[in-house]
Amino acid sequence: MLSYIVRRVVVSIVTVYVVISLSFVLVRLMPGNAMDVLFNQLLKQGGLTTQQIYQKIKFLYGLEPHAPLWQQYVQYISNASRGDFGQSILTPGESVLHVILQALPWTIFSVAISLLLSFFIGIAAGTVMAAYRKRFSGKIITVVSTLLSAVPNYLIALLLILLLADLHPIFPSGGAYSSTVAPGWSLPFVASVISHVLLPVATYVITAFGAWALAMKGSVTTTLGADYIRAAESRGLRQQRILQTYIGRNAMLPMVTALALSLGGLFGGSVFIETIFSYPGIGYYLIQAVNSRDYPIMMGCFILITVAVVCANFVVDLLYPLVDPRVVRAWGDRAAKVSRAEKDEVSATVGSGAGGTT
C-alpha cells in the first residue's frame, strides 16, 4: 500500500509539472501580447498621445524580456516552487497570488453549491429514470435531462437574465453583491450575496444536472441486472428496500467517484457563467487574463486548476477503498496472485537453471 501511495504522489507531481510546462509554452505562442492591451487601455483612458503612451509603456515595463525562453521558464519554475507566481502585467504591484485568493472564495461558494445541487438533483432524477423507465414520468425526465445537458450554459444564462433580470427584474443580472451594501457579515450583505448567486447557480444546475442524471441512470440500470438484485427480489424484500439499500448504494459508488473528481475541477470556476454574470471568480479573471495576455495570471489560474484536479484524483484514489472495501480485497487478491505467479516463474527458472541445459 505504501508503495502505491508513493507511486501516486510521484505521478501527481509529474502531472502538475508537465501541465505547467506545457502551459508556459503554449500561452506564449498566442498571438498578441500584454503591451498591446496596455496600449489600448491607456488610449481609451485618454489624455495621452500615442507617442506618449509608447514612451510610458517602454519606461514602465521595458521591452519584451530579452532573456531566452528557456531561462524565463527555469526562473518561473524555480519561483513557482516557492509559491511566487509573479505579478500581474496589467495590474502592476498586484501579485498573482493576491488575485487568485480574492477570486477563489467566490468560485468555491458558487460552484460548490451548484455542483452539490446538480449532483443530488441528478442522482434523484437518474434513479427515477432507471427505476421507472417504462413509465411516462421516467420518459419525460429522460427527455428533459438529455435536452438540458445538451444546451450550452451561456445560452441558459442569457435566457435567465432576459426573463428574470431584465423583462421581470426579480434577480440582479450581474456582480457578486449590490454596490449599495457594505461588504461584511451583516444580514443585508449576506442577503445580497445570496440573491446575486441564485441565477449563476440556477444556470449551472439546469445545464449540469442532466449529465448526472444520465450517468446515474446508467449506473442504476447496470446494477438492476445484477444477480444479487434478483436474489433480493426472490427473497421477497420490499421494492423500496431493494431500491435504497441494494440498488442505490451500489449504483452510487461510481457517482461518488465522479463527484470527488468534479470537486477538483470546481476551482477553475465556470468561465462562461462567471463572465456573463460578471461574477468575480477564477473563471472571470482567467478570461480577462487571456484576453489581455496577462501571462502570470493565466499561469497562476492554470496551476491552481491543475493542482486541484490532481489532488482530487489522488484523494479519491486513497479514499475509494474506504467507500468500497471490495476494492482493497480485490487489490490484495490481485497482488497475491501476482506474487504467486512471480514465485512460480522464479521457481521454474531456478529449476531449469539447476537442471542445466544440454
Binding site: M30, P31, G32, N33, M35, D36, V37, L38, F39, N40, Q41, L42, Q45, G46, G47, L48, T49, T50, Q51, Q52, Y54, Q55, K56, I57, K58, F59, L60, L63, E64, L90, T91, P92, G93, E94, A157, L158, I161, L162, D166, L167, P169, P172, S173, G174, G175, A176, S178, S179, T180, A182, T275, I276, F277, S278, Y279, P280, Y284, N291, S292, R293
Partner: protein
C-alpha cells in the same frame, strides 16, 4: 440616478492603467476646465471653467497662471489647493514622462490657489495646448506620501537634461529618484477614493458603481440627484443588457451606440427623450499599402468605388443609424472638417460615389482581367482578399462581412475574418493583413491629429516598442504630400499634431493632408460616428432643451457634459 459607464477597470489610483476613469472622472474628480468645440479657426476649442475659476496666459513670459476656486473641497473636507495641482504635475511626470520633456520649463505655486506653469520657448500659443483642460488636481492627503522632498527639483532637472542629453539623463541621480517613486506609484492602491466632484464614490463591484451626492462639492446646492448608480456596460456587454434596462427605464441616462431597432423602440416609448451628438470617431477600412495589389493606388481607389459606404454603414448599424456616412473620404468628420476645409476645397475632392464601372476601368488600366465574373491580377493569380475585424464589437464583424460581400459581388473574392482583439492588434502592427476594419479619430478637434491616428505610429511604420520597424498599414514611410513635398509620413504628421496650433497654418496643413488621404486612399473612411443620449423622464425631468449646447458636448465629453447639466440646475427628480 442610473447611468451606464463604458468601464471595466477598478483601480482608485489615478495613475494606474486600470484606473476607473469612467466612474471617477467628472463625477467624483473635477478637471480644471472642460473643452468645448468651436468653429472659430483661431482656436481649436474654448474652455468652460470647472475647478479653475480663471486663468491668465502670458505669451511673452510663456506662462499660464491658474486661479483655483477658493471654495473647492475634497471629500475629507480639506480645500483643493495648488499643492494638489503640483502633485498631479509631478506624478504625471513620473508616470508618463513625455508630457514634460518638450514643453514644461518650470512649475511654481506662489499661493494656495495660484499655480504657474512656465513653458519652453518652442510651445506656441500655449492656450491651445490643452493643458488647462488636462490638468486634474489630485488629493495631496492621498498621494503626498509617495513623493519625497525635492521631487520637483529632480523632475525638472531630469526633464531639462532629457531634452539635451538623454543618455546622461538616464544615468542621473534624479532619474533614480523618479524610478523609485514610479515603483511606489505603480504598486499604490488607495483604500478609498477621495474626490472633489459633485458625487462621492461609495463602492464599485464588477457589475456596478455607487456614488452619492457629495456635501463638500462647491456647487452642491444646484445638484439635485441624490446619487448616481453606474451600470458596467462593458464587462459583460451582451448579458448585462443595458438595452432592456434602458427600455424599462431602470437606467435614466445612457450615452452611446445602440442598434437601430433599439433606437426606434426608444423613439416611440413614453417618458423617453433623446439627443444625438457627433463623436470624434470615424469608421474606416485600412489597406495594407505594402502588400500587392493594395500597394497600387488605383486598386485602392477601385475598392473605394466598389464599397457603397452608405449601405455599409447602414448594415453595420443594423438598419438606419444616427451615424452619418462619409460623402468625401478625406480623414475628417463632418463636424470637424468643414471648420478647416472650405466648401470649395471640399467639393474639389473625389467623393468616390459608388460606381462599379469606374472601379472596373481602374483595374483594367492596370491590366487586371475579368474572367467568368472574377478578377484576375496581372500576375495571373485570382484577385482574392480577406477583410479582418476584431471579434468585438460585433458591428465591426458585420462591417467586415458586408464589405467582403460587396467586393465578392464585384468579382474580387473576399472573405471576412473576426479575430480576438489582442491578436488583431498584433496583426495590424506587423502589417499582416489585406484590408482591416478600424476606427480613426477623424473628429479630433485638431484635424492633423485625426490623420495622425491613422498615418502615425503605431498604425504606420510604428514606433511601438515591440514592433519597431514593422510597417503597420505601410503607407510611406516617405511620400509626397500636397503642399509639403516628399516627407516622412508618420514622423511629419505626428510632429504637426503636437506642435501646430489653431490658425491659418493649421488650416493649410489640414487641406494638405485631406488631399493626400482623398487622392491616395491609404484608408477609406465610410462613417462618422454619432452617439445618442437616451434619457428617461420617468424619474428625472427638466433635462436641457434639445438645442442646448451641452447635448453635442456629450459626443466628446459625455460625463463632464452630464455633470455640467446638473451644475446648471437641470435634471431634477420628478415629483
Amino acid at each position: 440616478m442610473s447611468t451606464a459607464s463604458w468601464n471595466t477597470n477598478w483601480s482608485k489610483n489615478f495613475f494606474s492603467p486600470n484606473y476607473y476613469a469612467g466612474v471617477a472622472n467628472n463625477y467624483a474628480l473635477m478637471p480644471l476646465a472642460v473643452p468645448e468645440q468651436t468653429t472659430d479657426r483661431t482656436k481649436m476649442f474654448t474652455l468652460i471653467p470647472q475647478l479653475a475659476q480663471s486663468w491668465d496666459i502670458n505669451d511673452t513670459a510663456r506662462t499660464v497662471t491658474i486661479h483655483l476656486r477658493t471654495d473647492a473641497k475634497w471629500d475629507n473636507g480639506q480645500p483643493v489647493t495648488s499643492k494638489d495641482l503640483m502633485d498631479w504635475f509631478l506624478l504625471s511626470a513620473v508616470n508618463a514622462q513625455q508630457i514634460f520633456q518638450q514643453d514644461i520649463q518650470n512649475l511654481s505655486a506662489p499661493s494656495t490657489h495660484e499655480f504657474i506653469v512656465t513653458f519652453n520657448a518652442n510651445v506656441a500659443n500655449i492656450n491651445e495646448r490643452g493643458y488647462i483642460a488636462a490638468m486634474t488636481p489630485i488629493p495631496d492627503s492621498v498621494y503626498g506620501k509617495l513623493m519625497p522632498a525635492g521631487l520637483q527639483k529632480d523632475v525638472l532637472t531630469y526633464t531639462a537634461l532629457q531634452n539635451t542629453n538623454p543618455a546622461a539623463a538616464a544615468k542621473s541621480p534624479s532619474y533614480q529618484v523618479i524610478k523609485q517613486v514610479l515603483q511606489k506609484l505603480q504598486a499604490f492602491e488607495p483604500s478609498t477614493f477621495v474626490g472633489d466632484g459633485p458625487f462621492r464614490i461609495v463602492r464599485t463591484t464588477t457589475a456596478e458603481s455607487q456614488l452619492v451626492k457629495s456635501k463638500t462639492f462647491y456647487g452642491a446646492a444646484k445638484i439635485h440627484p441624490s446619487g448616481v448608480s453606474m451600470v458596467n456596460t462593458l464587462s459583460s456587454s451582451i448579458s448585462n443588457g443595458i438595452f432592456p434596462k434602458l427600455l424599462s427605464h431602470r437606467v435614466d441616462w445612457y450615452n452611446g451606440s445602440a442598434p437601430a431597432t433599439i433606437f426606434d423602440r426608444w423613439k416611440h416609448a413614453s417618458d423617453a427623450g433623446y439627443a444625438t451628438a457627433p463623436n470624434d470617431i470615424q469608421f474606416e477600412l485600412y489597406f495594407n499599402n505594402r502588400r500587392y495589389p493594395f500597394s497600387m493606388v488605383q486598386v485602392r481607389q477601385a475598392i473605394a468605388y466598389v464599397i457603397d459606404r452608405k449601405t455599409l454603414l447602414d448594415e453595420e448599424g443594423g438598419g438606419s443609424t444616427v451615424s452619418k456616412w462619409v460623402r468625401y473620404p478625406y480623414g475628417m468628420t463632418e463636424s470637424v472638417g468643414p471648420i478647416w476645409i472650405t466648401k470649395a476645397q471640399l467639393q474639389s475632392l473625389n467623393p468616390y460615389t459608388h460606381n462599379p464601372t469606374k472601379a472596373a476601368e481602374l483595374l483594367t488600366s492596370l491590366h487586371f482581367v475579368r474572367k467568368s465574373g472574377h478578377w484576375i491580377m496581372p500576375n495571373g493569380k485570382p484577385f482574392t482578399t480577406t477583410v479582418i475585424a476584431p471579434s468585438s464589437p460585433t458591428d465591426a464583424v458585420v462591417a467586415a462581412k458586408t464589405a467582403a460581400s460587396m467586393l465578392t459581388a464585384f468579382g474580387i473574392s473576399a472573405t471576412a475574418s473576426a479575430i480576438d482583439t489582442t491578436g488583431y492588434t498584433q496583426k495590424i502592427e506587423k502589417g499582416d493583413f489585406d484590408i482591416e476594419w478600424n476606427t480613426g479619430m477623424g473628429g479630433n478637434l485638431q484635424p492633423v491629429c485625426g490623420i495622425d491616428t491613422a498615418l502615425g505610429a503605431p498604425n504606420n511604420f510604428g514606433g511601438a516598442p515591440l514592433y519597431t520597424g514593422d510597417p503597420g498599414i505601410g503607407f510611406g514611410p516617405e511620400a509626397v504630400v500636397p503642399g509639403l513635398g516628399k516627407v516622412n509620413i508618420p514622423n511629419t504628421v505626428a510632429d504637426q499634431c503636437q506642435h501646430t496650433n489653431a490658425g491659418p497654418r493649421l488650416a493649410e496643413l489640414a487641406w494638405d493632408w485631406a488631399q493626400l488621404v482623398n487622392q491616395q486612399l491609404p484608408y477609406l473612411s465610410y462613417g462618422d460616428n454619432y452617439l445618442v443620449d437616451y434619457y428617461s423622464t420617468s424619474h428625472y425631468n427638466n433635462w436641457p432643451p434639445k438645442d442646448n449646447s451641452l447635448w453635442p458636448e456629450t459626443g466628446l465629453y459625455s460625463a463632464s457634459a452630464l455633470v455640467m447639466m446638473m451644475e446648471q440646475g437641470y435634471i431634477r427628480p420628478r415629483g
